[in-house]
């Protein structure tokens, strides 16, 4: 009489694994090394993983696409226990000898060690970022949440910039001492500054420092006069815009294209009243998109 799952014929075992839910598969993976390897062979694909750091606690949210979209959450504290939030209930799983790092490493090993989004909400110290980096060696997006200091923001960006394609900063600790241009000059693929309550103050010189391929600021405070001067600098062609392909600014005041493009020759694109094409003498083009509360520059 057969009673052990692992004694089933390989095909049947595989089909059984493919029929299991993510949380059940993860539970199975924790039974032994063999079951961990088996769980990896399931055809269930984890669509995205969000990791959130809150002091010494790490939450992992996994999202799976299937017949039903499913989301499960693990809350990993220090020590051999962790919480699984599935449905309306919270279960506590315990594995003797496991540390927080072991739990995280185990979960990540089931999905190529890559988290989709790493959210740094609150860390006990800047030194703790090194631990976070060890735990999450790969991430697509880094998010630095609102209540973080300039020191932590600076440290987090420098540590994770090479790992993450996109950096989103929700805090705004910039002032005259800690200038925003320090961040804008970073060489990242996508940089998003997002703070609704505390607008990002910008000057022409800050914009000229922009070095990310895609830069988006929500909400920015910059005068229309400086925006106009920014376009004029580009038109003169005496300044090189190496990296940016697009700079998007959501503003704290209404603007019009006449204000932004005053004194500059332009043409409306495809008859649209929001998109304008500018041509420089060297043949380079700039698209300027002007909405009521936003402006974007696309360097062609």
């Amino acid at each position: 009489m057969l009673t052990c799952l692992l004694s089933l014929p390989a095909d049947d075992l595989q089909y059984t694994l493919n029929s299991m839910d993510l949380s059940d598969l993860i539970a199975l993976s924790l039974c032994s090394k063999r079951t961990k390897n088996l769980a990896k062979t399931s055809n269930l694909k984890i669509e995205s993983i969000t990791a959130e750091i809150e002091q010494n606690v790490i939450s992992l949210e996994m999202f799976v696409l299937g017949k039903l979209e499913k989301e499960i959450k693990f809350v990993v504290h220090k020590g051999p226990s962790m919480e699984l939030h599935r449905g309306n209930r919270i279960e506590v799983w315990r594995k003797e000898g496991f540390t927080q790092s072991d739990w995280i490493a185990h979960f990540l090993s089931l999905c190529d060690s890559r988290v989709t989004l790493l959210k740094i909400n609150n860390v006990p110290s800047i030194a703790h970022l090194d631990t976070v980096k060890q735990l999450f060696p790969k991430c697509d997006k880094l998010q630095i949440c609102e209540n973080n200091s300039i020191e932590l923001t600076r440290a987090a960006v420098s540590k994770f910039l090479s790992l993450a394609d996109e950096v989103r900063i929700e805090c705004n600790p910039f002032d005259d001492k800690n200038h925003i241009s320090e961040l804008l000059s970073l060489n990242s693929k996508v940089l998003r500054l997002y703070n609704v309550r505390n607008v990002y103050k910008l000057k022409l010189s800050d914009l000229l420092m922009a070095n990310s391929t895609y830069l988006n600021i929500f909400i920015a405070r910059i005068s229309v006069k400086e925006l106009n001067r920014f376009v004029k600098v580009w038109m003169k062609g005496n300044r090189r815009f190496y990296r940016p392909k697009r700079i998007g600014l959501f503003l704290n005041r209404f603007i019009t294209h006449e204000e932004v493009l005053r004194g500059i020759e332009y043409e409306a694109v495809d008859g649209q009243r929001r998109k304008y094409r500018l041509r420089r003498s060297d043949g380079k083009e700039l698209l300027v998109l002007v909405e009521l509360l936003s402006v974007a520059f696309e360097f062609l």
């Binding site: 009489m1 057969l2 009673t3 052990c4 799952l5 692992l6 004694s7 089933l8 014929p9 095909d11 049947d12 089909y15 059984t16 694994l17 029929s19 299991m20 839910d21 949380s23 059940d24 539970a27 199975l28 924790l30 039974c31 032994s32 090394k33 063999r34 079951t35 599935r86 279960e91 799983w93 594995k95």
Partner: protein, 188 residues
């Protein structure tokens, strides 16, 4: 459309029930075959029901048995317990000529029976039933913790796996040594 007979394969199987009333065109009489498991209990099953099993369907196609020959030579499945074969036969009869539903709730809930059914269905190559069985196996651990899963599915710990691996290596070594000694003896 089947009957189960206690005893040996020589026992006369029950006649099929009368065919349903039909229109002018006479129906082709359905052919029947006979199978038995470890307990030698013979089950009479229609060819239509047996089509679910790729293995038996292949055997029937190759043998070209007449009704009499089929009666005299039931297919023996000595590796399948009688009650499990009964379940399989019942399922094949219930789903004869019908599209299979997305779920089957009549499968055994006991682990031992379910695992044995999986093995039997795998051997008989009944794809749809195998799908249901594997889903049912997966359902056994739905919402369970790792410890509960280990208990339900009797999953060995890492230490037990390592011990078993050592034991297997030891045995393989002994067997290899035995073969070498035997070969040396033959050479002398």
């Amino acid at each position: 459309m089947s009957s189960t007979e206690q005893g040996t394969s020589s026992a006369a199987p029950a006649e099929p029930t009368t065919a349903p009333e039909s229109a002018a065109a006479p129906e082709v009489p359905e052919s029947f075959y006979y199978v038995h498991g470890k307990d030698k209990v013979v089950h009479k099953v229609s060819a239509g029901a047996l089509q679910h099993s790729a293995l038996i369907h292949g055997m029937i196609s190759n043998l070209g048995y007449t009704e009499e020959q089929a009666k005299a030579n039931p297919f023996p499945f000595e590796n399948i317990d009688g009650d499990i074969l009964q379940m399989v036969v019942d399922w094949c009869n219930q789903h004869k000529g019908k599209p299979t539903p997305p779920e089957d709730t009549n499968l055994p809930k006991q682990k031992e029976k379910l695992f044995d059914l999986v093995l039997a269905v795998n051997y008989l190559e009944i794809k749809e039933l195998l799908t249901y069985c594997c889903k049912q196996v997966a359902m056994m651990v739905k919402g369970k913790s790792p410890e509960e899963i280990r208990e339900i599915w009797m999953i060995p710990t890492d230490a037990e796996d390592e011990a078993a691996e050592k034991e297997a290596k030891k045995r393989a070594g002994k067997e290899a040594a035995g073969e070498t000694a035997a070969a040396a003896g033959d050479a002398k």
